[in-house]
Structure formats: C-alpha cells, structure tokens
Symmetry: D5
Subunit: 154 residues, 10 copies
C-alpha cells in the first residue's frame, strides 16, 4: 500500500538506533502532498530531555512545533529520532529550543515555522521560549498552541 | 413535517450500508436555508479511523470541519457515511485530512471551508493538520475550535 | 420600586402560559438604559429543545446570544417564553438557529446581533451554527463565547 | 512605612461602616504611581449583590473591572465599599453594570475602562453585560477576562 | 539488551499484520516480573472500534483495563493487535466489553481483572459497561479510573 | 448479522413515533448477554425535559442511570423513547426522577439500580435527586457518576 | 395540573416579599413522594450572603445541602426565601452554617441531613464548614459534593 | 453586634503587627458554637512561606487544615498571624508542616486534626506532607481536600 | 561543558545568600544566543511575596514576565534572587509590579517587555496589573499568558 | 542554620554528578522528624526517563511515590539523583516501576510505601503501574494521587 513518494525513506519502517547527537541525526523529508494550498502541520512532543551545560543534570521540556510546508514535509519518525538525539546534548533552554527550530528550517525549508518550548521549572521558575522563522503566508489558519500555563501548587 | 427541499435526499431516513471507499461515498446536499446572510456551520467528528499506508495498522483522529455555505449545505448523514468510508482507506495524516477538505469543497462549493485534523499520537508525537480553502467572507463569525492540546501524562 | 419604563410589560411579573409556537410568542422590549454608550448583552440559554422535522424526535441545543442594543433591549422573560415556544416546532439545526436570530433582529432592531447554536450530537456528530446580523459598532467589547468543544469520550 | 500619597485617604486603615446607597459611597483615589507608561489594572469582584427592582428579590453577580489609569488610581477599599453599597439598591442587570462603570469613569477619569458583569441565572438564563468607556491607548496590553461561560448541568 | 524472558515473543519487535478477527488474534504473555508482591497494571485504550451487529455501522469506545497479574503479564503489542481485531467484529456494547475482559482472563489467568468500556453516544445516550472477574487480593492499590463523564453540550 | 436474541424487538431498527406519555411508552428488554458474571451498565442521558406541574413551564435535567442486570438488559432505543415520553408530563423533580427509576425496576427486574437526576436551576438553586433500588451484589464495580457540581458564575 | 399535596403551600406560586430575618422566614414542606424507598435530595445554593457580626461587612458563601427525607420534603421556594433572610443577619461562618442545618432539621425532620458551607476568603484564608445531623440510613447513595477547593492565584 | 464570646480576643479587630517567630505568635480561641454536634472546620491557606534551613532560600506551600473542634475553635485572624510568623523560620517541609499541626493541637485541643502541606517543587520534585492527630469521631463528614496534583508541564 | 559566555556570571553555580532589598540584588545577563531572529522568553514566577506598606502584612503574587531580548538575556538565577529580594520590601501591588518590569528594562535593555502581576485577594478582591515597555518587534510570536481568572468559591 | 541531623549528608548542598546506573546511585536518609505520629510523605516526579530494553528507544513516565516513614525519611536530592540514574537503564514499565519502589523499601525501611507509575503511551496505549509494600498503619491519611487519566485526543 506504500506510495512511491515514501520509498526513499531509510528510517521509517526500519530498525533504527538512537542517534548519538543532534549532528548525527538525519531528518528525512517527503514531498508535500498538498502543495497547491498552504496548510499548517503541528507536532506535539511531550517527551524531550537534554542536559544542563553547567551542572550536567537533565532538563525536560514539552515542545510544540508548527510549520507551513513548502516543497517538503518532515517524516515524523526521523523527527522523533532527531529529538531523541538531544538526550546527551548540553545546551541552555533558549539555545536548545532555537537550535531545533533552526535545524528544521535548514532541512525542510518551510514557508514558515515556529516552536514553543515549555520547560520544566528550575529554581521554582519555568522558562518558555517562543521562536519563529519566516513570515506566515496569508490564508493559513494558525491555531493557538493552548499549552496550559505553569501554576505552582494549590 | 418534511420540507420539500429534503425530498431528493436518498440516504437520510433510509436504510444505508457503509460505503466501501471514499470514492464510493456519496455526499448529498440541500439548498442553504439562510442564503442572504453568510454564517458558519461546524461539524465535530470524534469518530474517525483510517489505515496507515505503510504498516496497515489503524490510525484514529478527531476532526472538526467549519464552513460558510454558498448555495448548498451538506446533509449530515451523508457526511457521516463519507467519513465512515475511510475505515479501510490507506493514507497519511496530512494527505487524509486535506483530501476530506478537498472533497467537501468539490461537492458543496462553500464560500470558505477549513478542517482541523487532531490525530492520536504515534511514536509519542501526535500530528495536527490545519487546512483551509477559499477566503472567509467579511462579516462571518469564526470561533476558535478550542480542541484541548495533547499533553502526554501527569 | 418598579421604574416607569417597565410598566408596559405584560408578561414579566404576570402569570403566563407557554406560547404554542414561535409565531404565537410575543417578544417584549424596554428602552435601552445606556443609549449613549454602545455595550454588549449576552444571554446564555442551556435549556432549548425543538423537533426534528423529518423524524419527529426531539432535538436539544445550548444557545448563546450576543447583541448590541439600539433603542431597545429585549425583556428576558419574554425571551425565555419565545425560546420555550420552539418545543413543538419542527426545523433543522441551521434553520432553527438562524430563525431565532432573525426574529430578535426584527423585533428589537439591535445595532448588531449574533447567535451561537451548539446542538447535541446526532449520529455521533454535533453541529454548531454561528450566525450574525449587522456590523458590530466600533468600540464595543465582544468576548469569545468560550463554549467547550464537543469531545466524544475518554 | 506609609507613603505620603496615601495620607489623604479616609477609609483605608480606618473603621468604616457600609455605605447605605451607591450615592452615599465615597470612591477615593490616589495619584497613579506609574504615569509615564500606560498600564492596565484589573479588579475581580466575585461578591456582588443588588435587588431586583420589580420583585425585590436579591440578584448576584461576578464583576471584573479593567482600566487604564490617567492621573489617578482608585483606592481598593473604597471600591469595595462602593460595591457593597448596592446591597439594597434596586436596578436591572444592564443598568446596574453600566452604572458602576460610569461612576468609576466619573470619579477617577481613566483613559479607558471596561466592566464585565456576569450575573447568576434567572429563569434558567444568565445575562452577561460588557460595557466600556473611552478608547484604549495604543501600547496597552489587555488580556481576555477569561470568565468561564455558564453551562447549566451535566 | 533484551532479557531472556522476552525471547519467546513472536509479535513484539516483528513486522505484524492486523489479525482478521478476535479469534485470529494471539495474546502473548511473559512471566510476571514482580511475583512476590501483588500489584496493579492499567492499560488505557482510547482507540477502539467495532461494528454494530444490527446496522453494520461502526461503534467507538474508550477502554480501560485493570488487572492484578498472577504468573503472567500480557505483552502490550499483542494486546493492541487483539483490540485491533474487533475492527470488523459485530457485537453490542455490553457483549463486546465483557468478551474482551473474558478473553484476557482466559489467556493470562490474572488474580483479578476489570474493564471499563466507555462508548460513544448513540441516540444521544452513551453506554458505559463495567465488568470484573475474580476478587481483588488484599493489599492491592486500585485507583479510580477517573474517566470524565459524558456531558452533552454547553 | 443480527443475533436471534434481538428478533423480538419492535422499536429498534423500526420507524417509531414519540410516545405521548410515560404510560404509553414501551420499555423493551433482551436477555442479559453475560449472566454468569454480575456487571454494571450506565446510561448517561443529557437530553431530558418535563413540565412543572404548578407553572406549566418546562424543566430540564441531566440523568445518569446505573444498574446491574438480572435476566434482562433494557434495549436502549426503547429507553430513549421512554425518556422522550416525559416531554409533556407534569411532575416535580423528586417525583419524576424516582418514577423513572421505579419503572425501570418494574420492567427489567435488575439486581440493583440507581438514578442520579441533576436538574437545571430554578430560583438560582438546582436540585439533585439520588435514588436506588435493591442491594448491589458483592463483586460489582460501581464507579462514581462524577457529574460536575453546579457552581453559579465566576 | 397541580397535585393536591401542594395546595396548602402559601409561598410557591404567590407574590412573596423577602423575610426580614431567619426567624421571620417560614420553611414549608410537602409530603415525601417516595416514602417507601430512602433517597437523597441535594440543594446547591451559590447565592448566599450574611453579615459579619464584628465588622458589619457582608460575607458570602456557596452552600450545598444534602438530606434524606422522612415524612416531609422541603418546598424549594420557601428554602430560597429562608436563605435570603440571612441578608441582614450577623453571625460567624461556623455558627451561620450550623444554624441553617439545625433549622432544616427542626422543620422537616429528615432521617439525615448534612450541609457544606464554602465561604469566600477573608484575610486570604477561606473557611469551609461541614456539619451533619442524624445517621444516614443504610442503602442510601450519598455522592461527594465535589466543590472545587480554593486555590489562590496562578 | 459582637457577641460576648468574642470580647476576650486581643488581635481580631485590633491593629496587629506580624509576630517575629512561631513561638512569638499567639493563637487565640473562642468557645465552640455548636458543641452538641461534632462538625468539621477547614482552613485553606495558599499564602505560606518559610525558609530553607540549609540554603536560606525561601520555600512556599499551600496548606489545608481540617479539624473537629472540642471545646474551642481557633480564631482565624490569630491563625493567619501564626502562619505569617514562619516567614523567617528555617525548617524542612516535613518538620514545618508537622509543627503547625502540633501547635494547633496543643492550643485548641481539637477532637481530631489533620494538615495537608502541598509544597512548591524543588529540584523538579514537589513534596506533599499529610499528618493527622487523634481519631476522627464517628458521624463526622470529612470531605477530600481535592488539591490538584502537581503535573510539570504540557 | 560550560560555554565561555557564562564565565562572567557570579551568582549562578555559586553559593549565594538572599539579597536584602531590590536595590541590593544584582541582575546578571549573558549575551543573547539567537540574536539574528527575534524571539520571546517567558518566566513564570508563582513564588513571590512582598509587604503591604500600610499594614506591614505580607502580600503574595503570581508573576509572569515576557520579553524579547536585544543584546542580552537575563540569567535566571539572578532573576530569582532579585524576586526574592522583595520579601521585606513594602510597596503597593501596582507599584511593585511596575517596579519589577522597569528594573528588568533598565538592566537588560530588551526590545520589548511585559509583566503580568496576579495578586492574591485582599478584601475579597484580587488585583491584577498588566504593564509593558517598548513596542513588540514585528514577526515575534506572543502567546496569551493564560493565567486562570480568580473565581471566589463554588 | 543547618540542624545536626543533616551533617552526615554527602550529596545535599554539594556539587554532584549524575550517577551512571541505579546501582551506582546512593539514596541517603535522615532520621524521621516526627516519629511519634505516623504521617505520609508524597514525592511527585514528572521528570523520569529510562530505556526500552528491546528497542533501545527512550521511555518517559510521571511517577508519584507515597510512604509512611519509620525511623528514616529519604533525603530528596539523593532521591532525585537516584531517579536520574535510570536515564541509561533498560527495563520494562512494570519492572522499572516496581524496582524503584523496592529500592526505596530496602534503603529507608518505611512502614508502608506505594508508587504510581504513569507511563507515556506506546502504540497508542499508555500503561500505569500501581505497586505497594507493607500495610499502611491505622490512623494515617492517604489521599488519592489524582493523576488525570490519559484521554487520547478531542
Ligand atoms: Ca485559540
Ligand atoms: Ca498558588
Ligand atoms: Ca475562541
Ligand atoms: Ca508531562
Ligand atoms: Ca476570549
Ligand atoms: Ca476521544
Ligand atoms: Ca486571552
Ligand atoms: Ca481516585
Ligand atoms: Ca447541558
Ligand atoms: Ca470515581
Ligand atoms: Ca463522588
Ligand atoms: Ca471523588
Ligand atoms: Ca471527596
Ligand atoms: Ca492564547
Ligand atoms: Ca461564585
Ligand atoms: Ca481523593
């Protein structure tokens, strides 16, 4: 039942190990199935962890990525492996979030992309990072990400 | 009590089987009962399932369709049967969502239509697809779809 | 304590029966108490029921009506009785919702009015209808209706 | 520790009785502590009650007031006493809500003010009233009031 | 890294098709990793669909299964395939839910098992089915399933 | 695909009018498909309306019915028609709720039954009625109905 | 349509003023319509206000009353008027809540009664009061009141 | 309007400074106004802060205290001042929570008391402490505290 | 693993005491890691307390700070210590909130900054303060802060 | 300000690396500060990740641990490091959850302990694991963990 457009994919449907670093991860792409009509794709990634570059302790985040594809859409298993590759990567919240967005921009050349990084609290204060690239084409519907704000206790 | 406008409908109020494919499904339409004043119709469809074209495993989605009718409105039982017809259809999330929107556009020629496809997670990452067709007429009220974002656990 | 402006009302404060049809219901109005400064009035009506014109079975809806009054505001007991009058009225969701909005427009001549009809599911799919009349005056604050979307189960 | 600007206040920090009517209530004001930079102040008042002018029965409301101060900000204890003064005041929902907004406008001359009155249901139908005065200065951040809509039961 | 206990599994980690019926599905099991201390395992299955035996239309349910293992625990990929096998199976809500519970009881011989079947509404009325098998051993902690009740609209 | 046990049903799958009164409604039943193992069936009925016997105005309720079947289970379309038959029936909240439970007990002879009636507010005060019949057999799992409490505004 | 049992009621369906004190309020009762089978009645009263006996400032509470009737049930309009009568009554939270429960016990002699008083915060700290009278008969279903706890901000 | 029982109170209604330590704080009490009938009093205290004895950094908690009074009830302003007195007090979460409960037990001799301390996260992990003293008398209604669990992000 | 840009920081990773006043607190900054592409950083601070300048009693707030960095980003441990320094600082809600925003603007020269101060209720009425500085650059994504509104009880 | 009981701790307040495996992690303990009165301690741990022993892909969980201390309480920084040590550990959900509980039981000898492991979905089905050790002493208050159930989409 597999369409031709997917035959070049090397990770989807194959046994794959976890890439050792973001650099080692390969983002794969397939041609956009609805090119005549701009639309939005959202990935919600509640399973993300990286390393604090100063203390070496793990950090955790909930990430939401929105983009309007151009010629390509990202293959989602390769996206998952790319995110997994940050497991031993040391970077600050701001740098890490923006690096993920930038890499996707570089690899799939979307018309527009944004990423919301909702990090777990440190010192009682969570940091959220909201970045975007390009200008959203007119006529695209961009719903709010709607992630519930942090509230402490009570 | 049935108004004349509904007498041409063949599926509503009749015993109907499930169509075997999207192509086999017949979308029916009746004339717009409020043509002088543009308004919005929303269908919320939490019961949708199709097949992954690569693995053959079922996929599930929650769909919300908004449109501003032109001359026609879609008859809702025929819409239900159309959605049911994807049960054995193999397509990716992005393609499937956009195909549903396109078919409605082709059959009922709305002034504007959009579809939100909120897919159940695969590999820990759900995909949402947001497509729209045409330009929403001025003076139409378009509320947010307000579907709760995916959050993992905790 | 009753102000003069209310002395012409015939249903408020009186023993009233339920009107037998929308046509038989009398919407009453009093003069707008804040005419120099446009403002918004919202009625939330979770108790609404009508009849399916094809099957004769009851339908239910949650209605929210927003309007900016001109010279008049609608008296709320007469609104309640008007809504009650649909109990034996047969009409489709779209037609019924738009008819309620139109009648209010005809009777109280608001500067702007909109109605959200949030209908209970049939065939697993609820329909929402969003209509509006006129153009909202500048300088009016129009909050989102915020009705929670339908979600099925789970 | 009391700053000079507060020394003219007569109700704050003093033993005060409840004013007998809105007319008898004294709204007090102090000079705006951040005059060079327009900002928004929000009061949320879930404890409000007045009297129905027709039936003499009590009405209840949840009020939210937003304003951008000019030269003055309202002292909050005097606001509380002003709201308390409606306890024996007879007025309809629309009139009562707009009267509160107007009085604040008259007394503290804000650059912009709005009030949301969220009234408890009567006859199964709650009324919300949304009024505003003036034009909100550019560069002011005005968050949604976010009050949960009324939903009946279930 | 695979432990010996899993080497007999035939579906986990293998390419598997969807079984054509519940009878054709193979539930697999591995030995209980914590046999000395009774504990509870919960599976939440929001992706379930079967067929109405009268109308042939699809039904949908959200299922939650709790059990206290004896000698065996069920392998979760085989559980998923078993649930998938109901896709073309015709049975009423009550029968379908109880059949799933019974089959698990037959195959893995738990000390105790219960299943909550939360079905999507038909005719405006959802049905929930709550079954259990055996007696829960003392000293086992059994949290509430906490599935949000159905609420219609508003 | 219809099993033999359903062949005696006269309303399911047939064109049916709305019964004119509770007395005129026919509750139908089929044999319990899981008789060897007590279990619970829950119906959630958010679409219920009756008439106030004093004022003649409509009342609305959200009903939840739980029962443990004996020899019979109630057929759900006949239940829906039975509930519909209260549309022109005059009875107080307490009487109406208990009458529904009693009729089910009389017709299907369950081992145990309970009904929660969650009525829409009158005079600002909603009434809930909680009745039950018989003693719940040991070994049956009875989850909380979990209906959200009434909260007024704010 | 009024049943005989209601003919002795003097406040329901009549024009009534607000009683001036709890002592002046008349609680009325009618015979229990389901005496052979103990059941629970719940009133939710989000509109309650009294006076602080020390400061003279108004207090507000959300009250929930549960009872199992004996020979009588309380007529709900008279309950509403009784609660209204506390508007000018000075009492502490604990005393006021327990007094309401006691009065109901004295007037309608229920088999069991409890009252939850959920008071609005003073000094940043709300007080809840939970009282009950008598012993709940066996075989009565008593759902949790489920009032959301106070949480401050955030 | 002040009742005699309150005349011995020294802090309520008086100008009071913040006590410098828990030892310096005076808890005051008045006689139980409903001694013949055991009942529960709940204080919710979302404004609590103390000091980490190791790092000197502030800690924050949301506290909920439930008790069944004996001869005395605690005066709530003195409770507030007592809690305020921990502002410069160094103690661990467990010790601090239990110390508050113990002090109340010592001062007002309740029949039963419990305290839930819901502390803000440190190192990504919040600690809750649940202590109780004495045995709850039979016939007292003790609702769940219902504080929402901590959830991280997403 | 520490990058060079952080080597000048004096508080992060060091043993630090709590600064005695806002003036004594040192906000530290590091160079913006993504200067070519404007983005938003959000800090959520549910642990904030200061002193009422009139009564000397503690106040509490939940703060949310959004900013678009220019050349610098604020180091988060120094932000935490800055917020901690208000523990003994007397200021009104409006003044305190605006002072925090102004200090950040002075120290890190963001392109745009806003602060939402959500204060705990006093006199039953919470105050929220919403301030902003500068003009948000085009092409920056600024999500709603989404803090749940205050609701009293019920 | 550090009390004597903490002087033997080696990780708290010290620079610590992440332990390489559960075996390498050292759980530390201090004496129970409230030994005469059994109480409950709850840790909520939303940041947990381990490795699937079959596929090598990361798994994520939200853990909640409740225990009644005996002579010792666990030091929370050492608990955090212990949980961190599973980052490269391969184990199934059931085994991993039970191993954490067992290790705590071995190290701090609580009177009673339970752990709820709420794992992120795999194959669309999340697994929860609920284990406990020992018997909870009488007179201990054990609140529900209240973790929201998994719900898929919509
Ligand atoms: Ca939105
Ligand atoms: Ca808080
Ligand atoms: Ca919206
Ligand atoms: Ca999470
Ligand atoms: Ca809004
Ligand atoms: Ca669903
Ligand atoms: Ca908003
Ligand atoms: Ca539970
Ligand atoms: Ca409803
Ligand atoms: Ca439950
Ligand atoms: Ca309950
Ligand atoms: Ca509960
Ligand atoms: Ca409870
Ligand atoms: Ca938003
Ligand atoms: Ca309220
Ligand atoms: Ca609980």
């Amino acid at each position: 039942m597999t369409e031709e457009r997917y035959t070049s994919l090397e990770q989807l449907g194959a046994q794959t190990g976890a890439p050792e670093s973001p650099e080692a991860a390969r983002l794969e792409r397939v041609s956009n199935p609805a090119q005549g009509n701009d639309f939005l794709i959202r990935f919600t990634c509640p399973e993300f962890t990286s390393i604090c570059p100063v203390t070496g302790q793990p950090d955790f985040a909930h990430l939401v990525i929105d983009y309007v594809p151009g010629e390509w859409i990202v293959e989602s298993k390769s996206l998952k492996l790319f995110l997994t590759s940050f497991r031993n990567h040391g970077a600050f919240h701001e740098a890490c979030t923006m690096m993920i967005g930038q890499r996707l921009v570089d690899e799939i050349a979307p018309k527009w992309l944004r990423i919301g990084g909702y990090w777990y609290p440190r010192g009682g204060i969570p940091i959220d990072v909201f970045g975007q690239w390009g200008e959203c084409p007119k006529g695209v519907w961009v719903p709010d990400q709607g992630v519930q704000p942090y509230r402490g206790r009570g």
